[in-house]
């Protein structure tokens, strides 16, 4: 599943960068994430409870920030396991400076699903991804405000 | 555990089952009425169709305890005193079955249809079967079988209860 899109923020790329690199904030704004425990630098153990419509699952796994180039880009590597299937995603995030102090956040990546999620979830998957993304950006916006 | 009381094919039944027991499992495992089949896990195939208070229901999609107090009819209850129901007869006469696995569900769905429309068109029959898969017959003879039964019912040769 492709994850691609962008979102405009009324904040500097530095401000966004700082938010995103702060585990506490990240826990707050990432939909479903209930706990983020630092294992080593830029690497976290993540626990998520995702509840969307008919699907409710507890996910557990890793979140890793890689290829950091402050404050322009980084790659988020996520692996999450659950009884209904596993999810892993590599998402490249770019923070592009715009006029008037605005920043465009662009993301481009792929999510890889397995198990029941891959097999029977097709009908709703793009919706799930959209919803989670929207929630994330809204929360980030709030955080920046 | 939940207590379930049902009238199944005219007989009272009272059993204790786990709350999560699906009606299809209850019929098959608890009552050994294995004529009701399970062909999928997404409520799509219709092999498990039975009549609950006269209406066609996918027994894999209701809990046994939800059906508590209902009148249930399964394929085992369709014949009366050894005489086949017109639908059973129709399926035999028109070769409406091959492997037989989808057949009970097909017949129960058709019974619901004929209970409120005893002269369905081919299109109406095909639409009524939209929730039942058959992989053997291409549905061709199933349609004929239901037409056969409808004709027999209309001619008054058979009184039908659904």
């Amino acid at each position: 599943m492709n994850l691609k899109g962008n979102y405009q923020f009324d904040a500097s790329s530095k401000a966004i960068w700082d938010c995103l690199m702060n585990p506490e904030v990240l826990t707050r704004i990432t939909p479903g994430i209930s706990r983020l425990e630092q294992i080593e630098e830029d690497q976290f153990k993540a626990i998520a409870d995702v509840k969307i419509g008919p699907v409710k699952g507890s996910f557990e796994g890793n979140l890793k920030v890689a290829e950091k180039k402050e404050p322009e880009r980084f790659v988020l590597k996520i692996t999450q396991k659950s009884k209904i299937g596993n999810v892993s995603a590599d998402v490249a995030i770019a923070l592009n400076k715009k006029e008037d102090g605005q920043t465009e956040m662009e993301f481009d990546g792929k999510a890889k699903l397995s198990g029941l999620l891959a097999r029977t979830g097709q009908r709703v998957l793009s919706g799930v991804a959209n919803t989670l993304t929207k929630q994330f950006f809204k929360a980030l916006e709030k955080e920046l405000a | 555990m939940a207590k379930v009381e049902l009238i199944v094919n005219g007989q009272s039944v009272e059993k204790e089952v786990e709350d999560r027991t699906l009606l299809a499992q209850f019929l098959r495992d608890t009552l050994q009425l294995t004529g009701t089949h399970v062909g999928c896990d997404t409520s799509s195939c219709g092999a498990c169709t039975i009549l609950v208070d006269g209406k066609a229901v996918k027994s894999c999609t209701i809990l046994a305890v939800q059906a508590d107090g209902s009148h249930i009819k399964t394929i085992e209850g369709m014949a009366t005193n050894g005489a086949l129901h017109p639908l059973q007869e129709g399926f035999k006469e028109e070769h409406g079955l091959q492997c037989g696995f989808c057949t009970p569900g097909m017949i129960m769905t058709a019974a619901d249809l004929l209970s409120h429309n005893n002269d369905p068109s081919e299109q109406e029959i095909r639409e009524a079967l939209e929730g039942n898969f058959c992989r053997c017959t291409g549905y061709h003879n199933i349609v004929r079988s239901i037409q056969h039964a409808a004709k027999k019912i209309r001619s008054g040769e058979a009184a039908v209860s659904a």
């Binding site: - | 709350d19 896990d41 209701i62």
Partner: protein, 282 residues
């Protein structure tokens, strides 16, 4: 095929249902169960408690109440499809009900259950929006009414609180001169809507006084196509005007994409089905 274990409760009144809902964490209401039980069987969801509200008389029945069609939340799709009152007053509801799932699903699945579930490809949300339904819910602090427009808040998301029960749907009976239609392009395997379009048009002497068009299946939630409505209101009901109006069918929404319909194709279908629904509502 085997759900995880849970405790089943049968509510004998709405009040009891609310109490149970408030006493138990991780509880789900069970009406027809035709959205919930399939999810439980695949273990996509694992609630600890199910509260069965399917037998509550308060949730039953279809009636007319002073210019309003009132449908109990526990009314099945099949009952709506066969209701003479519905056919006479708001025909598209019966038309749509007959296209939901299959016979067996329609015999058990309920309108309230479907609305609370808010599947983005379910049929009812489009109809509720086009009919400007009010959705009545009961919570610990009493009853409240939510307009359909406010009810569907997102992807499988509604304004229904976790401690509330959806009790009925109230639909204003449209004035004379109103015609309605629901047209659906089905996903061939699941028979959910890839595009479902509900249209309601009130006309005087061939001019559209009031137009309501809503879609399901297209975006992550059902929506009203205000662009189409505005483009046709006050205009003559004819092919040219309809054609011009439907071009905006999928504008301003995030169009979904799956194996059966890409974003582009789905957008195209939205226009086609808007035309079909508007043309059929004659």
């Amino acid at each position: 095929m085997i759900p995880t274990g849970f405790t089943y409760h049968r509510a004998s009144s709405l009040k009891e249902a609310l109490d149970l809902l408030n006493t138990h964490d991780d509880a789900k209401l069970l009406a027809g169960g035709h959205s919930l039980i399939p999810a439980l069987k695949l273990r996509l969801n694992q609630p600890a408690h199910l509260i069965d509200i399917s037998r509550l008389d308060d949730l039953k029945g279809i009636k007319e109440e002073g210019g309003t069609l009132v449908i109990g939340a526990g009314v099945t799709h099949g009952e709506i499809a066969h209701s003479d009152l519905v056919k006479e007053k708001v025909a598209m509801l019966a038309e749509a009900a007959d296209l939901i799932g299959d016979v067996q699903v329609r015999n058990v699945g309920t309108i309230g259950g479907s609305l609370a579930h808010a599947d983005p490809a379910a049929d009812w949300p489009a109809l509720m929006l086009a009919a400007e339904a009010e959705i009545t819910v009961l919570g610990p602090n009493g009853s409240r009414s939510i307009s359909a427009e406010d009810f569907f808040t997102g992807f499988y998301e509604t304004a229904l609180g976790e401690d509330e029960v959806l009790t009925s749907i109230r639909i204003p009976i449209p004035p004379a001169g109103t015609s309605t239609s629901y047209q659906k392009f089905m996903q061939p395997a699941s028979r959910f809507a890839i595009v479902g379009c509900a249209a309601m048009i009130t006309r005087t002497n061939g001019t559209c006084d009031r137009v309501r068009v809503a879609f399901t299946g297209v975006a992550d939630k059902a929506y009203r196509a205000k662009g189409i409505e505005d483009a046709l209101t006050g205009k003559a009901y004819d092919t040219g005007n309809i054609e011009a109006a439907v071009s905006s069918a999928a504008e301003g929404v995030d169009v979904m994409s799956d194996h059966f319909a890409s974003e582009e194709y789905r957008s195209h279908l939205a226009r086609v089905y808007a035309r079909k629904a508007l043309s059929a509502a004659s």
